[in-house]
């Protein structure tokens, strides 16, 4: 069992992505989001998650592969990384899978339009391709603050 990881599988466009289940606190339906002015575009705002103010970002927008159109399947993955809690808007959260470490390959340079820096690997399961995201990289908020500042300057 040491060599397998559990991942939550979700969809962005038609690609399947995975994140380590350890980092996911819950999966929520999209509640009413309060927009926060003066932040980057991909930050959709904040929600009240059982008393915690939780920022929500549009994962597609963050990965620069378009924007999410909200449907009934739209879900929010609530993730916890190093005391930061936040929600990622995804198209659909479908599955939980056990993946053996051995079938995870290093990410190719660009996959599904997502640049390599945000990926931690690619797993091939049967004929499916599962892209594993590097959440820490995605949430690197120092970089993010820079993005914010850039956004603020434009205002």
């Amino acid at each position: 069992m040491e060599n397998t990881i559990k991942v939550i599988v979700f969809q962005l466009h038609n690609e399947q992505y995975g994140v380590n289940i350890q980092q996911v606190r819950s999966i929520e339906k999209l509640l009413n989001v309060t927009p926060v002015p003066g932040t980057a575009d991909f930050i959709k705002g904040v929600i009240n998650l059982r008393g915690d103010i939780t920022p929500i970002i549009d994962l597609k927008d963050r990965l620069q592969i378009g924007k999410t159109e909200y449907t009934d399947h739209t879900r929010v993955l609530i993730i916890n990384i190093e005391s930061i809690q936040m929600g990622l808007i995804v198209d659909n959260a479908t599955d939980v899978l056990d993946i053996e470490q051995s079938i995870i390959d290093a990410p190719p340079e660009v996959i599904g339009g997502v640049t390599e820096e945000y990926l931690s690997g690619v797993a091939k399961i049967d004929d499916r391709l599962l892209i594993l995201l590097d959440l820490e990289r995605i949430l690197n908020f120092q970089e993010l603050n820079e993005v914010e500042k850039a956004a603020a300057k434009q205002l």
Binding site: V36, P37, N48, I53, P55, S83, I84, F141, N145
Partner: protein
Amino acid sequence: MDTMEYIDMFLDESREHLQAVNDHLLVLEKNPSEVSLVNEIFRSAHTLKGMAATMQFEDIASLTHQMENVLDLIRNEKLSVTTEVIDITFEAVESLEKMVEDISRDGTGKKDVSHLVSRLEQIEKGSSPETNNPAQKQPPSSASFDISLDEYQGTVVNQAKEQGYQAIQLNISLKEDCVLKAARVFMVFEVLEEAGEVIKAVPSVEELEQEEFDRNFSVILLTEEKKEVVLEKILKVSEVEEVTTASFTPAKEESENSEKTSNESESENESAEQSQQRSSKTIRVNLERIDGLMNLFEEMVIDRGRLEDLSQKIGNKDLSETVEHLARISQDMQGMMLTMRMVPVEQVFNRFPRMVRGLAKDLNKEIELEIIGAETELDRTVVDEIGDPLVHLIRNSIDHGIETPEKRKEQGKTEAGTLTLRAYHSGNSVFIEIEDDGAGINREKVMDKAIANGLLTRDRAEQLTKDKIENLIFSSGFSTAETVSDISGRGVGLDVVRSKIESLGGQIAVESEPGRGSKFSIQLPLTLSILSVLLVKVADEIYGVPLSSIEETVLLNKEHIKYIQKNPVMDFRGKVIPVVSLAEILNTPGNEAADSSVKPVVVVKKGEKMAGLVVDSFIGQKEVVLKSLGSYLQDIFAISGATILGDGGVSLIIDPNALIK
């Protein structure tokens, strides 16, 4: 022994004792003859040593031990209180504090204290000639040391005597040309250990091993053998010149002394017990628990809001009465909870006397520190955060404000500058003021500097009022001291102070009179977590504006908006103030109410300055729990946090301070 569970207690108590040592030392410096103070310090150091040894923090234990030795000499009047002694003790306390802090950050509490220990030892030794007077009376060749035993050793000697051993004092002199003194000592000791037990050596064994003695030393030996036999054996060791013996009886005086000390320690115990009894009305509660309670209470406040909403909708009289009652009770609870989190600002102020003393010494200035209102209470979070900014301001006042004694004399001031630290409550705020009677702020210099640094142009500078100029020093990249000193930093100072205070929801301002001194005043909110806001609607969103910064709300007729250089302004009680649209600032889409002829305006203030915020409608006043947006969303313009409303939705809280420039 697993000591981890006691670590918090150890840390708390260590800090208390260090603080006590600190306070008493400062008083002692002014009244060097006050023996009771030395006793207090000794007691604290002693307790610290005991605790540290139990917790296996050896460096702390060894340093306190050495401190204790020196203090013991002082309290037995064998050493007088000099500046040197005070200085080194302060240094030791500082190191101890560092070690304790290190432990609190899960460190090992290790620190190289050998330097301090040896300096303390030197002080201790420096006084030894006094204690060893008799040695000088005897001819140098057979010099002996007057050996005094401590309580424990005294008991050992007495017991040994009862069992038929005898105690012999041996005064041994090595030959003048002896090269390997340590080796000879070693050989002598070998002989001695064979014959019996050495219970005391003067100088100490360590010193002997390090050859830190002239050529005489004395030991007390417990042995069954006869004096002569031992004597002979020692003389067989080469390079031993002379050995004299005397049977040793612990002096009566000594035993009296030891009785005295034991009495003292008893009374120490008693007083410790008493103080424990006295403090039994308070309990130590882990801050985490109070925070936990506070969090739960915040949740309840949110639910209370929800209930209020519901009961209004349902309109049942009984229900509304119950909800109202609940609201009142929770209001009281909130008050109580807040006072639980309140701590006297003393906790921060405490460290300043020593700091000021140290800085004054370093800079060759004379400074009287006056602390007023140390008992003023503030929210724990604020107290934790306010320390650094205050340190900075105080350093600033000492470094740049207060002049050297010579200069002060020239200007007809007293040689010693006065630094006043004042805290007091006023309304819903706490004020902390730092006032000095130094040089004050040189406006010309500030202006030149600001222009040089590109903060403003010459033309603009001419128009600035004196207030504005003084407050320029809070701009970033500013330092007026001609030379950068390591006391007050490198000009990254005051703007950091300002942003820190603003992040605490406070404000800072400075008043100054050239040649007379300057006064920094900091205004801080009593508490951070629960605040009263006015809820307003802008587009589809509800925002909260803190009541503390609202001057008034008005309905403004559209025609009353005037323009100055295309910037909208309004007339508010005879003052012209700028008008800004909150919708524009927040960049919220769909501003429907824009066309209506009467606009609701919230007039907010920051110090003397005011501004009107145009909103779509007022909703009402509400007590809300301020929640942070988290570290992911930092430094968002004009937003200080968020809150959860009765319906479960999130509202953002506006930070009016950011809107008024």
